[in-house]
């Protein structure tokens, strides 16, 4: 039971429109016939139900008390069962077709959004909080699902039952029919009014529930502070305040319900009373038959009572519309084309990179890079030095085309960078971050993540050894099959970094981007990581985002950044000749050793 090819290929981008109802209609592309079936089912089920009452009328008026009754009764009984079977079948069909539509639309929406997210640009992700995007992909999608599965169908059920019943009533007796629907408009208005209020009260209650959760969530990890200041009493009172507010709001929500339902009961009851008495009087004067009376009272129930719920569905539908809008907003975002590009070499790139007056401006207008010029040969190591926010990270993010440079020319092997397809570039470039992101899978899967070929166990082990992580891995009870937990929490910072190095080794890219920071590890591990990195850099053009001077000294070219500009450039020896930031930083390093010596010497004298 999977979706047909054409259905799943429908590009949801086309479903984005400012008109929300039209948008939902377009979302149904490929499912419209199914949904039409569901609607038809509703109508047929309603018709069967109404027919049951008409059959009752026929039975009472035409058969009961007749001489040949004994022959006909079994047939009538059979007809009753048959009608019930019809009603049941159509109800079932309608509900399952609606479910198929709703689930199908949801499936397509989920898959589309998932793919969409990973194809949206860095710029989009920079400005969108994770929680918000997640919310749209989960709860909003679910609200859209409920729109099709429950609400639209619920409204349809009530209306079709009402429609068919009223038609039948009109055919039984026009006067009766009209007297029996007097209360319906009042009921509809009342239920709309009530459910709008109730949904507000419900939201207020949920809001308070969230506040209560937050209070609790803050209190639990803060238990040390609470105890340290012996503030248990204070905390109890604070929680009690929030808890009491929740109670008050819950009470309000319940009070609304406790008013609406009996009120609508009285309204419906009064309508029943009017209907029954009118009907009974008419029967007694002989205007209608007893069978008509019975059918009428039966139908009356189905005209009135379901109306009480109409408001609920309508109010819920409006929240479904809002959710659709929120989802459509995500879908409407432009994707970053991965394959677009005119230059697609067969083999690997050599890694010769030339920056000529390259600049980058964020959409916010902030200029992060300003006329950067330099050139590097294949296999060279380029070190980027500078304080946070000086442009180092932005520069390396241009290479895989995570961001598009705003001005100047940037060539790779002599071809303008934006002529290469993004997917090609990203396969050629490997990145090792300071705090690498691992996926909640096994170590093995994390190592081969993104490696587009079969990798043998031997190869994996070799990479792990080269990255100095093999020893750590085999000490885990499950070895390479150890699950690393969400974002790799089961591993230490240093271990994560080495897994990422191994991952990059397996990927074997021509260009390498390293974030050289080992702040969170001890000296021993730091040494291991340094060695692993050295191995990784061999034969690849490497960009190092450097945090300390040692890792810079061996680079072929050092770029010193300040406020988006390259203020100094050259090899270590050259830069040491100049009077500038580089030498000052370097001197500080030397001063350090001297000061330490002094300190220890002074202690010796005491």
């Amino acid at each position: 039971m999977s979706l047909s090819a054409t259905t799943s290929e429908y590009d949801l981008k086309n479903a984005v429109t400012p008109n929300r109802l039209l948008g939902l209609w377009r979302l149904m592309t490929g499912f419209r016939l199914t949904y039409l079936g569901a609607t038809l089912g509703l109508a047929l089920a309603a018709t069967s139900k109404v027919a049951t009452f008409l059959l009752l009328r026929y039975f009472v008026d035409g058969i009961l008390g007749q001489d040949n009754m004994a022959h006909i009764v079994p047939r009538i009984a059979l007809a009753f069962v048959g009608l019930a079977l019809f009603e049941g079948t159509f109800t079932f069909l309608s509900r399952s077709l609606a479910a198929r539509t709703a689930e199908g639309i949801t499936l397509r929406l989920r898959d589309y959004l998932f793919d969409h997210i990973q194809r949206l640009s860095f710029t989009y992700h920079d400005r969108t909080p994770t929680g918000e995007l997640l919310e749209r992909c989960t709860s909003d999608v679910d609200a859209v699902r409920r729109f099709f599965a429950d609400q639209a169908i619920g409204v349809g059920r009530i209306l079709s039952l009402f429609g068919v019943s009223v038609i039948a009533l009109l055919r039984l007796n026009v006067r009766l029919a009209l007297t029996s629907i007097v209360v319906v408009p009042v009921l509809v208005v009342m239920s709309l009014f009530f459910f709008r209020k109730v949904s507000k009260a419900y939201e207020a209650m949920q809001e308070q529930e969230a506040i209560l959760s937050t209070t609790l969530q803050e209190n639990l990890p803060g238990v040390r502070v609470v105890k340290a200041f012996a503030r248990q009493e204070f905390e109890r009172e604070k929680f009690e305040r929030d808890n009491w507010e929740k109670f008050e709001r819950g009470k309000r929500f319940m009070k609304l319900h406790s008013l609406y339902w009996p009120l609508s009961d009285v309204l419906c009851g009064a309508q029943m009373l009017v209907g029954v008495s009118t009907g009974a009087l008419m029967t007694m004067n002989g205007t209608i038959s007893i069978g008509t009376y019975l059918a009428y009272t039966g139908l009356l129930i189905w005209v009135i009572w379901p109306m009480r719920n109409l408001g609920r569905f309508i109010v819920q539908m409006s929240s479904g519309l809002v959710s659709y809008q929120r989802v459509a907003k995500v879908i409407g975002e432009k994707r970053e084309p991965l394959a677009a590009g005119t230059c697609r070499p067969d083999g690997d790139v050599r890694g010769e990179i030339v920056f000529d007056e390259v600049g980058f401006v964020y959409p916010s207008g902030y200029r992060a890079l300003d006329s950067v010029c330099f050139r590097c040969k294949p296999g060279q190591a380029i070190a980027l030095l500078g304080s946070t926010g000086s442009g180092k990270t932005t520069l390396v993010n241009l290479l895989p085309r995570f961001y598009e440079y705003s001005d100047g020319s940037l060539t790779l092997d002599g071809v303008e960078l934006n002529h290469y397809p993004r997917s090609f570039l990203r396969q050629q470039i490997g990145i090792v971050e300071q705090e690498p992101f691992l996926f909640s899978r096994t170590i093995r899967e994390n190592m081969t993540y993104g490696v587009r070929r079969e990798v043998s166990d031997a190869e994996i082990e070799a990479a792990a050894k080269a990255a100095a992580i093999h020893q750590d891995i085999i000490e885990f009870p499950q070895g390479y099959d150890t699950l690393v937990g969400e974002r790799g929490v089961m591993l230490s910072g240093g271990q994560k970094q080495r897994v990422a190095i191994a991952r990059t080794l397996l990927k074997d890219p021509r260009i390498l981007i390293l974030d050289d920071s080992t702040s969170s590890v001890d000296t021993e591990t730091e040494h291991l990581i340094r060695q692993a990195l050295q191995g990784l850099m061999k034969g690849r053009t490497t960009f190092i985002i450097a945090h300390r001077i040692q890792s810079v000294m061996n680079a072929d070219l050092i770029l010193v950044f300040d406020k988006g500009k390259v203020v100094q450039m050259g090899a270590h020896a050259e830069l040491m000749q100049q009077d500038g930031i580089y030498r000052r930083i370097h001197d500080l390093q030397t001063r350090l050793d001297i000061e330490l010596e002094k300190e220890i010497a002074s202690v010796q004298l005491l």
Binding site: M69, L216, F253, D265
Partner: protein, 605 residues
């Protein structure tokens, strides 16, 4: 730990009854409410049957018999029933709804209050998420069971009983025939519900997988892009979403089938009524009104039955929830006041650890025969590798834990003779990652002494060096700090927690220095604040900064739960032991950090 998160743990059945009894006992203070809603729902349910009976009477006695008098009576009775029933509906929704909220309130308050008493050890072994789930969703389930669950059951029982009663009155033979379908209905409904519930459980499982996949794809999107993993990710995700599609479609399919099947069974019963009544009408035994009434009563019986399995499943879950709630409420705080615990009014004076043994679990001892004498007013710096026992010493000092063996003396008493309040309210603590509560800066500082005036709060902030940055915040002291203080930097949070500790005017000061980098200026402010706090107080500092370490009266190098080296900075440097090595390493790192944070920016400008 995984089963901490499993909401559908299986029950130990032998305890079920006990748990149910205890759960019911929760309602004792509100028994009037319970009786109230049970009576009203019973009335409502009985009146439902009365309606039907009245309609039958109208047909049989009024219309067919042509009696105006009976007709009027019936109508009056009908109207009265409508009104009384509306009152009943109001009554049961009001009583049940509000009682439900009240029980929820009571349970949560009781749990929260108990949580405040529980010891550190409990919080260390129990994930916050687990406790959260107990206080939020389990309480909801239990309160639902005690109100709506009880209501559902009562309503169902009364519906079946009164319907059956009236059916027997109308025609006992027919009633007997019809009631034979009851067991069939029961079995069918139970089978359906069991499968539907299982299917929805699967849906929930798949759903959490899908949410997880989304979460990872959003947070890790940069890596996904860098590794060109898009296609394969989508392929993997499609499996999840496909599973989800199949499971939820199947669940919806089953529920869609359920109702019609139950209705079909009822229809068969109805068919048999008509068939039978057709024959009886020949003997004049069954009236038309009776037939109609029979049909209605049958429906009344059908409703609770198709719901039965759901109610039963909810009952099971609620009992499991109640069990977990009670397990939390029954947890005895491992540290509490001894009988006759006293408050000497101050804990100033010497502190000593005498032959102290401690472990978090018996297999891995942390401290063994630990001894330490500290003079009033002395500053002790604790240094050494992570896991060496520094935090344990501080935790024991604050009596978050108690020694397994040995004695800790404070103000000349074995501290277990003192009340917890006497100790903990007089120790000022500043943590490595300071915990602030959402609220304003002022509220957070005042946490140290609730009755402090605004002037005193500001004075404390000034001494702690926090005043300057606070006034620069948008609303000064009234600026919100965000959930957990997330709107402030780590350094700022530390300054505020220093001010908070200062305001409390503790006798003993305990600080766990931050390892994460704080900018130089804030760092200097923190130093100043610490000094203000250490002034004249016995202080214990888990130290990471050289300046702090050097200033301490005594440095303890702690590893493997022992004092490896002890002495002043100069003494320890001369020994050229482990402290010396640590110091040199620290020295380098600190200067490097300075170079990163300060020099680069400054040198360039």
């Amino acid at each position: 730990m995984s089963n901490y998160y499993d909401d559908e743990e299986e029950l130990k059945t032998q305890d079920n009854l006990k748990t149910i009894r205890r759960t019911l006992a929760q309602t004792r203070p509100h028994w009037r409410w319970i009786v109230g809603f049970l009576v009203t729902i019973a009335i409502v349910s009985v009146l439902d049957s009365v309606y039907t009976y009245l309609r039958k009477e109208i047909v049989d006695q009024a219309i067919l018999a042509g009696s105006q008098a009976v007709f009027r009576q019936a109508l009056i009775a009908y109207a009265a029933t409508v009104l009384v029933q509306a009152l009943g509906v109001f009554g049961f929704i009001y009583l049940t709804g509000i009682l439900g909220q009240r029980i929820l309130y009571d349970l949560r308050q009781a749990m929260f209050n108990h949580l405040q008493e529980l010891s550190f050890a409990y919080f260390n072994r129990t994930p916050v998420g687990w406790i959260m789930a107990r206080v939020t969703s389990d309480t909801e389930r239990v309160s639902n069971l005690l109100t709506w669950g009880l209501l559902d059951i009562t309503w169902g029982v009364f519906n079946i009983a009164t319907s059956a009663f009236f059916m027997f009155i109308i025609n006992w033979r027919l009633a007997l025939i019809v009631l034979t379908i009851l067991p069939i209905l029961l079995v069918v409904a139970a089978q359906f519900q069991k499968r539907i519930l299982a299917e929805y459980r699967r849906v929930r499982r798949f759903n959490s997988k899908i949410v997880g996949a989304y979460n990872e794809n959003i947070t890790g999107v940069r890596v996904v892009k860098a590794l060109c993993r898009e296609k394969e990710n989508l392929r993997e995700f499609s499996q999840f979403s496909g599973d989800m599609y199949r499971a939820s479609y199947h669940a919806a399919w089953l529920s869609a089938l359920f109702l019609p099947v139950v209705q079909m069974i009822t229809a068969l019963a109805l068919g048999s009524i008509i068939w039978y009544s057709g024959r009886q009408a020949q003997w004049g035994g069954m009236t038309i009104g009776s037939i109609q009434a029979f049909v209605s009563y049958l429906t009344f019986i059908m409703w609770p039955i198709q719901d039965l399995a759901r109610v039963y499943a909810e009952l099971q879950h609620a009992v499991a929830s109640a069990e977990r709630i009670f397990s939390l409420l029954d947890t005895v705080p491992s540290i509490s006041d001894r009988p006759g615990a006293m408050d000497p009014g101050t804990v100033r004076g010497d502190v000593s650890f005498e032959h102290v043994y401690f472990d978090y679990d018996p297999d891995t001892p942390v401290l063994a025969d630990f001894n330490l004498q500290v003079k009033q007013g002395e500053t002790i710096a604790l240094v050494g590798p992570t896991g060496g026992g520094k935090s344990t010493i501080v935790n024991l000092l604050c009596r978050f834990y108690e020694p397994r063996k040995g004695v800790i003396r404070m103000a000349e008493h074995d501290y277990t003779e003192l009340s917890l309040h006497a100790i903990q309210s007089r120790i000022g603590i500043v943590l490595q990652t300071p915990h602030l509560f959402s609220g304003t800066v002022r509220e957070n500082i005042r946490y140290g002494r609730l009755e402090a005036t605004d002037e005193q709060v500001e004075e404390a902030a000034r001494v702690a060096g926090a005043h300057d940055f606070i006034v620069k915040l948008g609303k000064g002291y009234d600026s919100g700090v965000g959930e957990g203080g997330q709107l402030l930097s780590v350094g700022q949070k530390q300054l505020i927690s220093l001010a908070r500790a200062l305001l409390a005017q503790p006798d003993i000061f305990v600080m766990d220095e931050a390892t994460s980098s704080v900018d130089t200026l804030t760092e200097a402010l923190i130093q100043k604040g610490m000094e203000a706090l250490m002034e004249g107080r016995t202080s214990f500092v888990i130290a990471h900064r050289l300046s702090t370490i050097k200033r301490a009266g005594r440095i303890l190098f702690i590893d493997d739960g022992r004092i490896v080296e002890m002495g002043s900075h100069a003494e320890l440097l001369r020994t050229r032991g482990r402290y010396y090595r640590l110091y040199v390493q620290q020295f380098r790192q600190e200067l490097q950090r300075e170079q990163e944070l300060y020099e680069m920016g400054a040198a360039a400008s």
